[in-house]
Amino acid sequence: MNQSKNLALGITTFAIFLFLLGPLAIIFVASFEPTSVLQFPPTGFSLEWYRNIFSVSAFMDTFKLSMVVSLLGNLCALLLGIPAAYALSRFDFRGKGVLNALFVSPILIPGTVLGFTFLRYLIVSYSLPLEAALFVGHTIIMLPFIIRVIASSMANFDFSIEEAAMNLGSSRVGAFFRVIIPNIKSGIIAGVLIAFLESFNNVDISVFLTGPGISTLPIQMLTYVEHYFDPTVAAISVLLMIFTALFMFVIERLVGLSHFTKR
């Protein structure tokens, strides 16, 4: 390997990481600003805005709902997505291309459009309660990520272990649970994580599917910044970052992060 070219590549990478992470660092530092104006460098150090997060009950309430919707929707997307991902990567059949496109389509349709369609049909025409519609909408936006990630973890999969299991006396369904699922576990975890982020941060669909007593954290944050310009949302972001870093640390310990790359 050519050392100097490698060095150049390393420096470029470092610079790009600076671009990616610098703004997050600024948010981190600025969140300790004592005054009500987010600024950098901060004028002092205060945990005022962290305190504020816990004193405004709406932040906690919406955080809880966001977690519930993202987790339940994720579960539902898994139940729908795993069989589909399996069929799409295991078999060749007519219409596979179309079905593939169909399952990816929620990514390709502008969020505002989806949100507005959900509002119009799920809530108005189908008369689903708000919570249900929110849950359905989030399931739909998570589905393509779940399917994509899991299908690609099965793309290079050697399905002969499934035949081996059947040959040894396992039913087809039994074989799926005994040998397929354990071997795509990390793909499933990666899929779950990416889908979760996609859902947890979603604004454009949630904004149509919230109502009395029902709102998600990003929507609450948006509402908050309509009226305030204090560092509270920065503080929330910092908390989420720490929360995520811990979560990623655990994932890395469990399965290794390289599975994220298998999209």
Partner: protein, 274 residues
């Protein structure tokens, strides 16, 4: 397994998507072609002949394509670097690359305001080292929007590209070098075309994301409207759902056209690929 079993596995997801998304979407879109019960494309003609609308459309397209382009340019070295290293360093870098995905776009935009503003960090820095005498105007220009969007979507592109690059046999690069290609040439002529599948997915995600982005252009952009603002205005402010649905349809069609063109370009650059 019996053939029908395959479809049975797809059925739950398919039904779910059809009932809750496809049918509503088709109904929404088809209603825009109906006026008093008969087929019409008059509404669309109005849009497509309106210089103002076309201006918004081309601006948005331009911003989205520029963002996609810069994401590609910036993601490549990072992804290449990550795909070449091993072990815990790789895990760490991947983790760091994904990290920004978790921070709310609003908050990220705030940070860019602090950096790019008239009295922002960037101007302070440039002024203090004497590169410029007058503060640059970056914030509230399309440049700021593009920077914000690139920041927003770069992680997606990096992650997708690392995925393909990891699976590209480094012997291709060696083969090119042994035939006389410099590292750069080998990268451009071999690595780049072979990354097409990942590039395609990445570009699609970035393009759709920036084409439909709302928060970032609103916060970092200047007076120039983007199409999602326009959609939002019609749907929410004016409560004109029919117009909104038309804009939505145009957006969907454009998305499909652009991703189709991406596909074409990818096939052109990597005709042997699957």
């Amino acid at each position: 397994m019996k053939r029908s079993g395959r479809y049975f596995l797809l059925l739950p997801g398919l039904l779910f998507l059809s009932i809750f998304m496809i049918i509503p979407l088709v109904l929404t879109i088809s209603s825009t072609f109906l006026e008093d019960g008969s087929f019409t494309i008059a509404g669309y003609m109005n849009f497509l002949t309106d210089a103002y609308f076309l201006d918004i459309l081309t601006t948005t397209l331009f911003v989205a394509l520029t963002t996609t382009f810069f994401c590609i340019v910036l993601a490549f070295p990072v992804a290449y670097y990550i795909s070449k290293i091993n072990g815990s360093k790789k895990a760490l870098l991947l983790m760091l690359a994904i990290f920004p995905l978790l921070v709310s776009p609003i908050v990220r935009s705030f940070s860019w305001m602090i950096i790019l503003g008239r009295n922002g960090l960037l101007n302070d820095l440039l002024l203090s080292i004497g590169i410029i005498q007058e503060p640059l105007t970056i914030l509230y220009t399309p440049v700021a929007v593009a920077i914000g969007l690139v920041h927003l979507f770069l992680p997606l592109m990096i992650v997708t590209l690392v995925g393909v690059m990891e699976n590209i046999d480094s012997d291709y690069i060696r083969a090119a070098e042994s035939l006389g290609a410099s590292k750069t040439t080998a990268f451009l002529k071999v690595m780049f075309p072979l990354c097409m599948p990942g590039l395609l997915i990445g570009s699609t995600l970035v393009f759709v994301g920036s084409f439909t982005a709302y928060t970032t252009p609103a916060l970092l952009g200047g007076q120039q409207r983007v199409i999602s603002t326009f959609l939002y205005q019609n749907a929410i402010t004016l409560n004109d759902w029919n117009t909104a649905a038309m804009i939505a349809t145009i957006m969907i069609v454009l998305t499909f056209v652009v991703t189709g063109i991406f596909q074409k370009i990818a096939t052109m650059l990597n005709p042997g690929g699957s």
